[in-house]
């Protein structure tokens, strides 16, 4: 068992146990019209956009970067698609348009980081600040509501399981396959350890950094489509607000270090599940939903302290003594 996955796994187990005690119906699943329903499915469904964004974030963080702009990209993707559909365009062309734009935004972030050499946190802060303004510009400050059955599918549709879950899991599986079955994952990690040394060793650091930012923006774009499709509307102000924080949390809880160089996709999946289960648990056990943030803060601090170098040194010493 991977040591790094132990804590998030324990946290998830503890949360599920709490639910089992407090509210046994949490685990009830029922089949209706060939669709699976239940609290667990809801957890997955609400967590799907976060998982998708955290997936992109994992690879960015593995290169020792960070992408603060994903929340703004979520808003832009929803705004572009809904405006396009509301203007008489098709759902598919609207989504493709939005994703193309997201790819451009990813290229922009990648350009700032890899070519101009600006720190990732500040490079992506630019788009984080300006992005919501751009989304507002697209929607002209309105909340654009659309009614398009094809567009509804991506966020609210069902294929036995909610479509959004299937999309996120497929993206996870594809990413795992591509990065772990080819050398790509290792190259990403080597860039995270030392971009300059990797470049000297013949790794195309710049291209790799560019790739991860485009990937993160595309993930955020798809998540944005899910979020706006789920409510059939684009809200430039609130769509994806703070989702970058949740995504970063998911990655960190999953054991990926913000210092780059090593990442775990399974950890990110667990991290996203922990965050979403926590949120759902708080709703179901009747704590006012506003207090969620306090619990989140406690979990973050707890997990970070458990993973902190200072504490693991203490553990390592104890084990050495015991052995």
């Amino acid at each position: 068992m991977n040591r790094r996955l132990l804590w998030p796994l324990l946290a998830l187990a503890a949360l599920l146990l709490l639910n089992l005690v407090a509210n046994p119906s949490f685990f009830a699943l029922r089949l209706q019209d060939g669709h699976l329903f239940g609290s667990l499915v809801d957890v997955l469904r609400n967590g799907a956009p976060t998982l998708l964004i955290a997936l992109g974030m994992t690879l960015v963080i593995a290169t020792r970067g960070i992408d603060l702009s994903v929340g703004a990209v979520v808003a832009i993707a929803g705004a572009v698609t809904c405006t396009h559909i509301a203007g008489g365009g098709g759902a598919l062309s609207g989504m493709l348009l939005a994703l193309a734009l997201c790819a451009v935004l990813g290229l922009w972030n990648g350009f700032l980081v890899s070519v101009l050499g600006i720190q990732p946190i500040i490079a992506t802060l630019v788009l984080m600040t300006a992005g919501r303004g751009i989304a507002m510009l697209v929607t002209e400050g309105q909340i654009i509501t659309v009614d398009d059955p094809a567009f509804r599918e991506i966020g609210a549709g069902f294929l036995f399981l909610p479509v959004s879950i299937l999309i996120s899991l497929a993206a996870l599986a594809a990413t795992a396959l591509v990065t772990r079955r080819t050398a790509l994952g290792m190259l990403i990690e080597s860039v995270g350890v030392n971009p300059e040394a990797s470049r000297l060793a013949g790794v195309r650091s710049r291209t790799i950094i560019w790739t991860v930012y485009v990937f993160a923006a595309l993930c955020a774009g798809v998540a944005g489509l899910m979020i706006s499709s789920n409510v059939s509307a684009a809200d430039a102000n609130n769509a994806g607000l703070w989702i970058e924080m949740d995504a970063i949390l998911a990655v960190v809880i999953g054991g990926t270090s913000l210092a780059g160089g090593r990442y775990s996709l399974t950890g990110t999946l667990l991290g996203a599940l922990v965050i979403q289960t926590l949120t759902t648990t708080i709703y179901t056990i009747g704590v006012p939903p506003e207090v969620t943030l306090v619990f989140k803060a406690i979990v973050v601090i707890a997990v970070c302290l458990l993973q902190a170098p200072a504490l693991s040194r203490v553990f390592a010493r104890r084990e050495a003594v015991a052995a």
Partner: protein, 332 residues
């Protein structure tokens, strides 16, 4: 210890102004240009009162940016400041409603902010967790505590607070300012003194330049690393009090996203996010630039407020690229 008096930069001083002053000078130039453009385009823009209003409307942001400057100079970041503002307004409003004397309320608010900063600083220093994550948790915690106090907005009815909020100070020339402006300027002066004329300030620059070297030189890096978060926490709670005076209410959703405004002001003001380079005065200029952009857009009237965000994003980019060029030219 006189050798660490000046912040060290990997930059050779070119002819004319030393290049470490360049970003700050550039910020002032941008401020003058934006303000000049506003004066040319709009009647009544170029008045002393418009300048005074920049300070009145942004007094809390100035205080916030001062605290953030300390943290950023050490190479850290504090994401909790916006939430601490909200928490401060909530504590102030709730305590005043409960009948606490205003002085006690002020002390309680400032103590809470400083304590939160201290706790975050300790976690960052003792456990080596990244500031980004710790202050993110602080952000969630402070925002969550607001909701615990009350979900509703609480208005401030206390007489002392109300009279302080509506008080004005007349300057020569018929320009009026408010008490928060005076407080903000005092904070700036104290911060500039601490940063440039005390051992603590020199160590802040040293830690930002290279923490390992600073430690090897025998500087108290731990004390300073915790200290800057206490300062930032104190400044955010003070800014929260000023914001409470400005809005005359406590509300959990006050100051959403204000941490980004503060970071943007510091960056536009010429500080490097990697630490070690920057001036408090620059951050104040950064706040003034952001404030002027907002004023221009509100004078224009036809432009919507979301243009503010796009322009600020553009300014951020321009300054980052500028700094990049300066550092690169100096480094080669």
């Amino acid at each position: 210890m006189t050798t660490v008096l000046e912040p060290q930069l990997p930059v050779k001083a070119g002819p004319g102004a030393p290049s470490r002053f360049l970003p700050v000078i550039a910020t002032f130039v941008v401020f003058v240009l934006t303000f000049g453009a506003g004066s040319v385009a709009y009647e009544g823009f170029a008045s002393g009162q418009v300048v005074a209003n920049l300070f009145i409307d942004n007094a809390f942001l100035i205080v916030l940016a001062v605290g953030m400057t300390f943290v950023i100079l050490t190479g850290g970041i504090d994401l909790s400041v916006g939430s601490v503002i909200a928490l401060s307004t909530m504590i102030a409003a709730a305590a005043l409603r409960a009948g606490w004397p205003p002085v006690v309320v002020v002390v309680a608010v400032l103590a809470t902010g400083s304590l939160l900063g201290f706790l975050m600083g300790m976690v960052i220093h003792k456990f080596g967790v990244q500031p980004f994550i710790v202050t993110l948790a602080g952000m969630f915690l402070a925002r969550g505590l607001c909701f615990v106090i009350s979900v509703e907005s609480i208005s401030i009815k206390d007489k002392a607070f109300r009279s302080l909020a509506t008080a004005t100070i007349e300057l020569p020339g018929g320009v009026t300012i408010t008490p928060p402006v005076v407080i903000a300027l005092v904070v700036v002066a104290v911060a500039a003194y601490v940063l440039h004329l005390t051992r603590f300030g020199r160590t802040v620059y040293a830690v930002g330049g290279s923490e390992a070297s600073a430690r090897l030189m025998g500087l108290r890096t731990g004390q300073v690393k915790v200290g800057v978060y206490v300062i930032s926490g104190f400044c955010s709670s003070l800014a929260g009090l000023l914001f409470a005076l400005y809005m005359l209410s406590g509300y959990s959703l006050h100051g959403v996203g204000m941490e980004l405004d503060a970071i943007a002001a510091v960056v536009v003001g010429g500080s490097l996010l990697s630490g070690g380079v920057g001036f408090v005065v620059g951050s104040v200029a950064g706040v003034l630039v952001l404030g002027t952009v907002q004023t221009v857009i509100s004078f224009q009237g036809t432009l919507s407020s979301w243009w503010t965000k796009i322009v600020i994003g553009g300014l951020l980019l321009a300054f980052i690229v500028l700094q990049r060029l300066i550092v690169r030219r100096g480094g080669s």
